[in-house]
């Protein structure tokens, strides 16, 4: 069963007296453990799709299924619970809690849930994540004492803290230089392999797109390509663009 499944998802935003069609009937599936890149130019609908999968926005029509559950049927409380237990988020602007240090930022999602691990076990896990993202020396520093790359590493560790099945990253490298961007994507890939966590990230950087093993290309709110990178070039399907 697909961990994420979108069926004919449409999203229409009101803009004054007119409407903007952000998604025009998007359908695709993501398997557990995929390292997925949602690629496309600005305004193609990347962020909208991530918002749908991340259960922080709802579709105008169509279905978004996470682990087979139609998210449209869930209450706000259940959706929040789902985000906490199943999803992790990495933001373009890092969005760390400014008054908390690295350790506390990573620990933070664990404190939002009802289930509490044993203190030692929790502490070991947080330290493992911090070391894994290479910030062992920075655990007591505040976000404003870190570089952009370091902050994004903290965000990755935070996204993984609750051991989610899926980590969403909305243009995680947009605010980083190319070297750091590469390092961040490599780190995400490493975590994907080590923890078997499904990563879904949006980007318009073609170099980064190619690191993904599952690429979903968007244009004008429609999927124009959806393929696994291990497929030979000739097998990569081109989707027929259908007017919404």
């Amino acid at each position: 069963m697909s961990i994420v499944k979108l069926l004919e998802v449409k999203k229409v935003y009101p803009l004054g007296k007119t409407e903007v069609q952000a998604l025009r009937g998007v359908s695709f599936e993501i398997e557990k453990g995929d390292f997925v890149s949602i690629a496309g130019p600005s305004g193609s609908g990347k962020s909208t799709i991530l918002n749908m999968i991340g259960c922080i926005d709802t579709a105008t029509s169509g279905q978004v299924l996470i682990n087979g559950v139609d998210t449209a049927t869930l209450s706000d409380k259940k959706l929040t619970q789902l985000r906490h237990e199943v999803l992790g988020f990495i933001f373009q602007s890092f969005n760390l809690i400014p008054v908390l240090n690295v350790y506390e930022n990573v620990e933070f999602p664990l404190l939002l849930g009802k289930r509490q691990q044993a203190k030692k076990e929790q502490s070991d896990w947080i330290n493992y994540l911090i070391d894994a993202v290479g910030l062992g020396q920075w655990r007591h520093h505040k976000p404003n004492e870190l570089s952009g790359g370091q902050r994004q590493r903290v965000a990755i560790a935070r996204a993984l803290a609750t051991k989610p099945s899926i980590v969403m990253a909305d243009e995680p490298t947009a605010n980083l230089d190319s070297t750091t961007s590469q390092a961040i994507i490599d780190l995400m890939k490493q975590m994907n392999r080590e923890l078997e966590t499904t990563f879904i990230f949006s980007t318009h950087d073609s170099d980064i797109v190619n690191i993904a093993d599952h690429v979903i290309r968007l244009q004008d709110g429609q999927v124009i390509k959806d393929y696994k990178t291990d497929q030979v070039e000739s097998e990569k399907p081109d989707r027929e663009l259908v007017s919404a």
């Binding site: 991530l50 922080i56 929040t80 985000r83 992790g88 933001f91 809690i97 400014p98 939002l112 609750t162």
Partner: protein, 487 residues
């Protein structure tokens, strides 16, 4: 919970200026609240203790009156006398919780000597032994001697004597004779010569209270026109007998008409007293009987409760007893009248001002918080996105507000307590009669009252909770999508 406190504390520290502005406002407001309420508590509790100790004891029984009557006496309406006083006393003795009682009569008279008007006094007619037992130590005798039972005389207030000496150059001494002129609705103006037995004063009394002087009760009854006839007349009026018929058509028994048409029969009864002109002129015994003073005429019965007795329970028992149930049982606040009203009025004004300040504080805190929250859209949206329930956001905002209000509220309470302590040490001087009346003396030494601290704490908590309502609703309205969209 720890994470909420941690985030709240660090956010407040991070925005020091904002926190200090809000905090200072709260601290100053609460300090004023503590000072104001402590001063008013000291005034009212001091007033209560002083009135109970010196003037009113615990309860005052009086007859109902349609007019405003004063406990302290004066030239205004007099309180009606107590009906069936001897039986009332027997009834009171049987009520549990009452330790002692003493009756009282009040009035006022101008003082003159050798045809020279000197001053005026508020007069209290008392039963010396029982009064002194109930109010032991409240009145200090400076010169002369106390009144004795059955002895004619007056113990004048020291301030009246001093005033006469200052204004008229006459120093009254114990043993002097003075003339008292009283007016009453029953017999008109009455003049009595009395012997000045002593001179004394109540501790810390000011204003009219300084004019209270003790007089033998019979002289005061005469000045007040409290004769046996008056008792009969009162009785009759209570039974709604037409006064015009009662007195033969016109006039007052004690006026010229007495010797006109009215007739008094030997068996003058309450229902149909008639006056026989010839008999009155021939045999004056009935007239003398009517004109004799009513030895049971008292206006008030002061009750001292036994230690530990409940005022409410005693009042309930009084309300069930046949005679006292027809009376009003008052306490010091009624007696203090205007003065207590003034103190409670000032307290009311103080609380209105505090309420207004609290509203302003709430608006300022609320606006500052809303600005703070709009600056933290991404942070709050992120928390929602990564799994923070609405309750967490609500708790986060409330914790920040409560932390600010409680920390600075406590600081304000400490500052207020310190200032109250300072005032206690140096004393607040009353530099005019208004404050002297209010303070019950020349200097007020305010004491920190638990009530003021409780009120302050509750106020702080209420300000905190109310201030956080709107900002919380703004924060709860933030969608996680906004966290994704904010760059």
């Amino acid at each position: 919970m720890m994470i909420l406190l941690k985030i709240a504390f660090r956010n407040l520290r991070e925005h020091k200026i904002k926190t200090l502005i809000i905090g200072s406002l709260i601290a100053v407001g609460i300090a004023f609240l503590v000072i104001g309420n402590s001063v008013m508590d000291t005034i009212t509790s001091g007033m209560q203790a002083s009135f109970r100790r010196n003037f009113t004891s615990d309860l005052i029984l009086r007859s109902p009156s349609e007019e405003d009557v004063s406990f302290f006496g004066g030239f205004g309406a007099a309180s009606p006398i107590l009906k069936d006083y001897p039986q009332l006393v027997e009834e009171i003795k049987a009520i549990p919780g009452i330790e002692s009682y003493t009756p009282m009569l009040n009035g006022a008279a101008s003082i003159s000597q050798n045809d020279e008007s000197l001053s005026f006094a508020l007069l209290w007619g008392i039963e010396p032994e029982s009064y002194r037992e109930m109010f032991a130590g409240s009145f200090t005798l400076a010169e002369g001697e106390d009144l004795q039972s059955g002895q004619e005389g007056i113990v004048l207030s020291q301030s009246i004597v001093d005033e006469i000496e200052e204004d008229k150059g006459i120093r009254l001494e114990p043993g002097d004779k003075i003339l008292l002129s009283g007016q009453n609705n029953n017999t008109g103006t009455k003049i009595r010569e009395v012997t000045l037995r002593g001179i004394g004063y109540f501790e810390n009394s000011v204003g009219l209270l300084e004019r209270i002087s003790f007089i033998d009760v019979n002289t005061l009854r005469a000045l007040n026109g409290l004769t046996s006839f008056q008792a009969v007349k009162d009785e009759a009026s209570l039974e709604t007998v037409d006064e015009t018929n009662l007195f033969g058509g016109e006039g007052n028994l004690f006026e010229d008409d007495l010797f006109g048409e009215a007739v008094v029969s030997d068996d003058a009864s309450v229902g149909e007293p008639t006056l026989d002109f010839d008999n009155i002129l021939g045999d004056t015994s009935v007239r003398e009987q009517y004109l004799s003073l009513d030895n049971n005429a008292w206006q008030f019965l002061l009750l001292k409760l036994a230690p530990g007795a409940s005022e409410t329970q005693v009042k309930a028992a009084l309300a069930k007893a046949p005679l006292s149930s027809q009376l009003l049982s008052e306490n010091w606040r009624w007696a203090a009248g205007f003065i207590a009203g003034l103190a409670y009025g000032i307290r009311g004004i103080l609380n209105v001002v505090i309420f207004a300040v609290a509203i302003v504080a709430i608006i300022i805190i609320m606006n500052t918080l809303v600005i703070s929250i709009t600056e933290r859209f991404a942070e709050i949206g992120t928390i929602r996105a990564i799994g923070g329930q609405r309750q967490f956001i609500r708790s986060m905002i409330t914790t920040e507000v409560l932390m600010t209000t409680i920390v600075f509220g406590l600081l304000g309470m400490l500052i207020g307590a310190a200032i109250v302590g300072l005032f206690y040490v140096i004393g607040v001087e009353a530099n005019n009669i208004f404050f002297q009346i209010l303070f019950g003396g020349q200097v007020l030494k305010p004491v920190l009252s638990p009530g003021s601290l409780i009120i302050s704490f509750v106020t702080v908590a209420v300000i905190g909770v109310i201030s956080s309502l709107y900002p919380t609703s703004v924060a709860l309205g933030i969608s996680p999508v906004q966290a994704m969209q904010r760059r």
